[in-house]
Symmetry: C2
Subunit: 151 residues, 2 copies
DNA sequence: CCTTGACCTAAAGTTAGGTTTAGAAATTAC
DNA sequence: GTAATTTCTAAACCTAACTTTAGGTCAAGG
């Protein structure tokens, strides 16, 4: 019976390569919202495979889970997202990625001229002012990187 | 007397912009080695300002503290490093950075064609196979991502 | 001499992104 | 109708890179 009662969490895990615990964690973070069957178990739509795939890709691009949740909120809530819908929200990813590449490239260009030239110890060194603030995902203070003393 | 008994940790913190606790932490991780004065307090050389600066820059580039410790071990231990010494070890940074830029660029090039085209849900999608897979050194699974998200 | 501020150590807390564990209930397989 | 799988929840644990706290010690100034 139940020609299509949706995917169980284990099946979704297999299809995406994610751990079951990770999928539950994403739900806790508001990134995915399954329904429950009569027995209280999570059931997912086929479209959720793509949703999780998107999450994994966005993570590779350096987005945090809150950021990804934000991006996903751009999808329609009342129907299964179409390829066009995915395309639309992926534009944000693209610009995020472009920014990161720019930053790193700028950093690299400054490296050769800066390390070894003597300015390394000066707060005004170009390398100290990554005006983009690539807030590395760790927690902690790092008020230097995210919040340069000024510029 | 003691025309130059070295810098106290607070002075070093001010000069570098780092928190005192962070500098002690770096010592615990083997990244810097001050000596102690008669009273047991840490004393630093002026050259350590540059050492900490290097650490901060390397972090922006995405290196972990163990990796930075490794790079720093390339400096001479018996004398104050010269600009040439710094230049030498910075070559490793440069290649690290080049790799990261390459990876991101490859990812970006795949993005437009991949998201929205329908392959997003397939495990064979190019975005799923960042062939660089830098041995996910983090704890968790992230066996999918080639490298910790870093920044 | 005494007070204030900087410094000391060790241990616990923090954030992100999950995993592991434990005990119980639901499903599936035979 | 069981036995074996899965799944459930809640809570504890994990890493990296630090910070905060607690309880004391050192150093400098008046």
């Amino acid at each position: 019976m139940a020609v299509s009662e949706g995917l169980a969490i284990g099946a979704l895990a297999q299809r995406t390569g994610l751990a079951v615990s990770a999928i539950r964690y994403y739900e806790a973070q508001g990134l995915i919202a399954p329904w429950r069957n009569a027995g209280g178990q999570r059931r997912y739509q086929r479209a959720d495979i793509r949703r999780l795939s998107f999450i994994m890709i966005a993570q590779q691009f350096g987005l945090t889970l809150p950021e990804i949740r934000e991006v996903l909120s751009g999808l329609p809530g009342n129907r299964t997202p179409t390829p066009k819908d995915w395309q639309k929200i992926s534009i944000g990813l693209r610009s995020h990625l472009d920014q990161r590449i720019d930053t790193l490239t700028r950093l690299r260009d400054n490296l050769d001229g800066c390390i070894g030239c003597g300015c390394l110890s000066l707060p005004k060194c170009a390398l100290y002012n990554p005006d983009d603030r690539a807030k590395s995902h760790g927690s902690g203070p790092r008020y230097l990187m995210g919040d340069a003393p000024e510029a």
